[in-house]
Symmetry: C2
Amino acid sequence: MHVVLASASPARLSVLRAAGLDPTVEIADVDEDALLAAIPHATPTEKVTSLAGAKATTIARRTRFPDAVVIGCDSMLHIGGELVGKPVDVEDARRRWRRMAGGTGELVTGHTVLRMADGKIDRVAEGHAVTVVRFAEPTDAELDAYLATREPLGVAGAFTLDGLGGWFVEGIDGDPSNVIGISLPLTRRLLAGLGVTVTDLWSPS
Amino acid sequence: MHVVLASASPARLSVLRAAGLDPTVEIADVDEDALLAAIPHATPTEKVTSLAGAKATTIARRTRFPDAVVIGCDSMLHIGGELVGKPVDVEDARRRWRRMAGGTGELVTGHTVLRMADGKIDRVAEGHAVTVVRFAEPTDAELDAYLATREPLGVAGAFTLDGLGGWFVEGIDGDPSNVIGISLPLTRRLLAGLGVTVTDLWSPS
């Protein structure tokens, strides 16, 4: 059974590859702002799960793999009562880090897994996972060096756990793959709910 | 300043590379069993810190980089009152997983960082980190498939967080890089204690 990852995130692809899958990446051009504007009263978990579902179903409608499993995800950082995605520029990332440093946030990732049969969506499983992230306090020099790499600009919450940002995360409570953008244990359970055993999807390495 | 990693672990090297360092790997042939036999009353954290120190100092004495930072680490899983390293064979790994499944363990990693000057050990910093790991309950078929990959045989505690084992870890409480074998935030603090800013060690990517 083929696996399709409906996400442009290189970090999600790396997580899945390291965990034995070899998904085909197909990128959905979902207008995230418009979708979120359409559900103004949604909770953080409803927002990320809606975005994950929109990505997965958009790809399911057009994928060239008629019997695949399609996985869509969306991640945001919930901090200080606010739900944030990628920073808009270096100054935005710096402001956020000044607020995050020494504190905690919740990385929320929505997941939608679709099982296709004969080119149609046959079954759907969705869920979300929340991981608490405890941020370190980078010095001004460390923060300048981190921002200069531009890594924080490309990621939800302006930090990575699996890259340079790992130096500045003291710890987490929850699943680390969820912070990177796709929770492996949740995806395993969603697949099982669709009758798919994840180890059957492992590619020979 | 050059970074030397006194460890044969490919997972530790991957963590450091993903986090911007490009260390030279030098492998110390420390007789771990003999060292542990010499300190029978040591606590788990004393054991891993002693092993980390033995690896780092062995390499420091013979490295060809006279002004390097040398990092040594050692990891074990503390579970059910017992401290375990790598499993001896597939059956040992299976027995352990039957005991671990649905429960928790503590991944303990000892760290020693040595700052060399003119070919001599100038300053020493050491510490340990503990991360609680909550194991999922793989089905018999999933456990068989996991053992067949032989991945659990090469790692302390018979699981990985950054590989195939990630499907079977529900969550952690603590630093994920510590579970993989080297805590980035602790290493950052140990380096700072030696007057080294970690971002100054980042290689151009």
